[in-house]
Every structure is written in C-alpha cells, then in structure tokens.
C-alpha cells in the first residue's frame, strides 16, 4: 500500500516535469510528435531505472562504507553518461528510425537533470532498494505521461487556428504552463 501511494505520488502529485520542473529540455524538444515522445519516454524510463539502481548500489555499497559520500555527483554523472551511451547504442542497433527521430536529445539524456535528480532524491530520502526501484519507475512513468500529454496537445495545436505570433514555441510554453497548473490540482491527493 505504501508503495502504491509512493507510485501515485511520483506519477501525479510530484510529477517530475510539471511539479518539480526537472528535465524540461526534452519536454519542449521532443514533444512535437506522439511517436517520438513515446520513444523518448521509453528511453528515459530505461535509463532512469537502470541509473537509479546502479547509483543506489554504488552509493550504498561503495561510497558510504568508504566514507566518501561527497563523490556522489561526479560518480553518478559517470554512471549516467555510460548508461546513456549504452542506450544510444542499443537504440541505434534496434530502431534506427527512432535514433534519427530522437537526434541530439538522446545523448542529451546524459545531462537530463531528471535522471540525476531522481538518483540523488533516492539517496537523500534514504530509500531502500525496493522503494527506490518503485519510485524510479513511477517517476519515469510520470515523465512519460506528461511528455505524451504535452505531445498530444502540441499535435493538435499544429492544426489549430492560432494567431501567427503565438505559433510554435510561444503557444507550447503557454500550454506547458496550463498543464502544470492542471497537475497542481493533484496536490491534495496523497
């Protein structure tokens, strides 16, 4: 039950993109098409769960016992960068079209603050292994949910009759703001 609450909290109430404002770069960058957004969400999910697991093991198993917890940031970045590289290779191998569509945003997952944010949050909150796993997965699901919702909205905006000055990035930012406001409605849920 506690895990379920944690998951709902991570997906809706404390949504990475719309409540914590982490990982805005791909949120605006790869949300033009639902199919690309889905690919990005899956890549982020993969990297986030894997990175959180590995970083948790490193923090709890290596850094803390040796008393060098201050190496957290640099060690985590090292892990995340390698994992992104791995994901990139895998996607290039198994789905070249997705690789093309994600473009520069794929290597940019390296610097996606949502990944590092979740990894660091897991440590800061003192989560256990299972809780960490659930939270990371739920958080990435929340990321994917927000990304897909936003991509769907933007696809419709493409064909909507909006004043020329508001086309493109301007309306996208306005919609992002409204979406974030809407997600604030979840704040009393848990």
């Amino acid at each position: 039950m506690e895990l379920l609450i944690l998951a709902i909290n991570a997906i809706l109430v404390g949504n990475l993109l719309l409540a914590k404002f982490l990982g805005i770069c791909p949120f605006l960058g790869v949300s033009k098409k639902i199919s690309t957004a889905l690919g990005m969400a899956m890549a982020v999910t993969f990297v986030m769960v894997l990175a959180s697991t590995v970083t948790w093991i490193i923090q709890v198993g290596v850094l803390n016992p040796l008393g060098i917890g201050y190496l957290q940031t640099i060690a985590f970045i090292l892990v995340i960068a390698s994992l992104v590289q791995l994901t990139e290779m895998a996607i290039q191998k198994f789905s070249p079209s997705l690789y093309e569509a994600l473009g520069i945003f794929l290597p940019l997952i390296t610097t996606n603050c949502a990944i590092l944010g979740v990894a660091v949050m897991n440590i800061d909150e003192g989560r256990g292994f299972v809780t960490m796993l659930v939270y990371s997965f739920a958080a990435s699901l929340g990321f994917g949910l927000a990304l897909l919702l936003f991509a769907g909205l933007r696809e419709r905006l493409e064909t909507a009759a909006i004043p020329e000055a508001f086309r493109g990035a301007a309306s996208a930012l306005v919609v992002a703001g409204i979406l974030s406001l809407a997600f604030m409605g979840f704040s009393g849920l848990v």
Partner: protein, 330 residues
C-alpha cells in the same frame, strides 16, 4: 589515504563502465556503409542545405539510399562526378544555379514613401505599415540576404537595391529563405534573359510606384509563349525545359523590366540612367524594322498572289481536264 581512496574508487567505477561499454559496443555495433564516409570527404562541407537535407552528412546518408546525385550546387559538376564515382552510377549533368534578386527598383526608380527607423532588417521593416517603400513587393534593401550570405555574393547598388554577384554565388539558397518578400529565385546560371520584377499589383498601380516595374502587358509572352508567363499581374521566365532565352523579349518590355545578360552586365543594367533612354530608342528601331519587314512581306505576298492569278488566267480553259472534275462529271 583520504586522497587516494576517492581516486581509486572513481577510476574503478570508470574502468567498470568503460569495460561494459566496450563489450556492449562489440555486440551492438551497427555496420555503417563505408561509402557514407567517403561521400562526406568529397562533399564541400558547406552544410548550406541547398540539397534539401540537413547538412552534408544528411545528404551523404540519403545519397547511399539512392536520391538524386545532382543536388549539391556548391560542389558543382566536379562533386557530382566524384559522387557518381563512389556510388558507381552514371554522372548526371548538374545545371549550375545562381541566386537572382527579382527587383530592379532602387530608390531612384521606386521611391520610398516613409523613413524607416528601427532595427536594420528587412523582416522588421516590412512589418511596419507594409514597409518603407512605395512598392509593397520590392526590395527593401536592408540586407537580410547579405546577412546570411557567407560568400559575400550579395551587394547593393547606390540606391539601396540588393543584387547577387553570380561569380561569387555558390547557390546555397540561404538568401532565398531570408528575403521576407520572396524576391530571390534560384535560376539556371546559363540563362541570360530574366524578368527582374516581382510586383503582383495591377499594371497601373505598379507604374505609379516604380519606373521599371512589370505592368503585365504580356508583350514578352506574346513573343515567346513557351518561355514567359504572365500570372497575377507579374511576368516571369519559365526556366523549365522547353523554354529558352529570348533576347527580343528584353527589347520589347515596355518598362524595361527584363534583363538580357548578353547586352549588359547586371550592375550597369541596374544603375545606368541612360539605359532606359537607350532602350526606348532600340524599341523604336525594332518597331520601325518590324513594320518595314511586315510591309515587305505584304508586298511580296501581294506580288505572289498577283502572279498566281495571272497564271490561273492563262491556264483557265484547261481546268475541266483535271482528273477530279472528270470523275465528278461521270
């Protein structure tokens, strides 16, 4: 110890990750077509986008997939030959292109109606009351095209009219996108006769705001229907197949909006004040010559008719002997 431990730990993590990646690279390696790299070597690396693909690398990838090999205009025929060599296909003749600003109305011929004070950009200027120029189609002359040109091929006349120096133009078509009035067109470099006006106002209005604007009189199209078209009150050259240079069209153009590169180079054609006087004289000459030709033709035709009539008179009685008439009689 407190210094060595972090170093050791970090290097350890790095080494493990590196090893993991090395193994993964072996299993997940994607075989890239070696021709792509070879193509990257010979493409001009201008990354101009003239081919319609994102950068030279984008074009190289598409080339391997089998797109038209004659799209790299900055590279020219040499590059096309090399591409054909690498891909093992027949080289196609690349029609070199140049950018052409289709407006001849400098400030002296197409006056301004207001003084624009603001950011020095055509895009900004045309937003304010349809631009500072009386003609709402013409060149504003603030140089958005020159800004994007990396080869300094865009120059300006004294009267603030942009024009492209064909010898410097690599046909990247960046200026085509930059011009807020869509004045710039990519034209085949071997063509000599061009219409340098883009106004779509009715002739009367164009005449009121520009001395060299196309008034859509259709004289050019009447001379060569296959090469000129007049649409939306604007004449233009059809550069496609079947069209050719028609120097006489430049001669008959009432306002003198058609430039014939055989006669003048672009700068003098745009700036020489005596040019239009000379054109009028030559138009009168042409008219007189054609009238004389027509008269001569008429005369010749009349003479031929007369001769025929005389001959018919002579052979008149023999006519019923023709086989057709005989047959009809039976």
């Amino acid at each position: 110890m407190s210094l060595i431990l972090p170093i050791l730990v970090l290097s350890g993590i790095g080494a493990v990750m590196g090893a993991g990646l090395a193994v993964a690279a072996k299993f997940l390696s994607v075989e890239e077509d070696p021709r792509v790299e070879a193509l990257m070597e010979i493409l001009p690396s201008a990354n101009c986008g003239a081919c319609g693909y994102p950068g030279c690398s984008g074009y190289a990838k598409e080339l391997v997939a089998g797109v038209d090999i004659g799209l790299c205009s900055p590279g020219g025929s040499d590059t096309v030959a090399k591409i054909a060599d690498i891909l093992g296909v027949e080289a196609v003749a690349l029609v070199p292109k140049v950018a052409l600003v289709r407006c001849a109305g400098g400030r002296n011929l197409a006056p301004d109606r207001s003084i624009y004070v603001g950011p020095s950009s055509c895009k900004a200027a045309v937003l304010v009351g349809a631009g500072p120029k009386e003609c709402r189609w013409g060149c504003v002359g603030l140089g958005d095209c020159a800004e994007v040109c990396e080869d300094d091929a865009v120059d300006f006349t004294e009267d603030g009219l942009a024009f492209v120096r064909a010898d410097l133009c690599i046909a990247c078509a960046r200026c085509v996108k930059a011009c807020p009035r869509d004045l710039i067109q990519m034209v085949p470099a071997d063509r000599k006769v061009h219409v340098l006006c883009s106004s779509q106002d009715p002739g009367k209005n164009t005449k009121a705001v520009c001395q060299v604007g196309c008034i859509a009189c259709k004289l050019c199209a009447r001379r060569d229907k296959a090469s000129f078209v007049v649409e939306n009150n604007s004449a233009s050259v059809l550069y496609e197949e079947g069209s050719k240079d028609t120097p006489v069209a430049a001669l008959v153009c009432t306002p003198g909006a058609i430039w014939d590169a055989n006669e003048d180079d672009l700068v003098s054609w745009l700036t020489d004040p005596a040019r239009r006087e000379a054109l009028k004289e030559r138009q009168a000459e042409l008219k007189a010559r054609e009238r004389a030709e027509r008269a001569a033709k008429k005369k010749a035709a009349a003479a031929a008719k007369k001769a025929k009539a005389d001959k018919a008179d002579e052979s008149g009685p023999a006519e019923p002997a023709e086989p057709g008439t005989q047959k009809g009689g039976q």
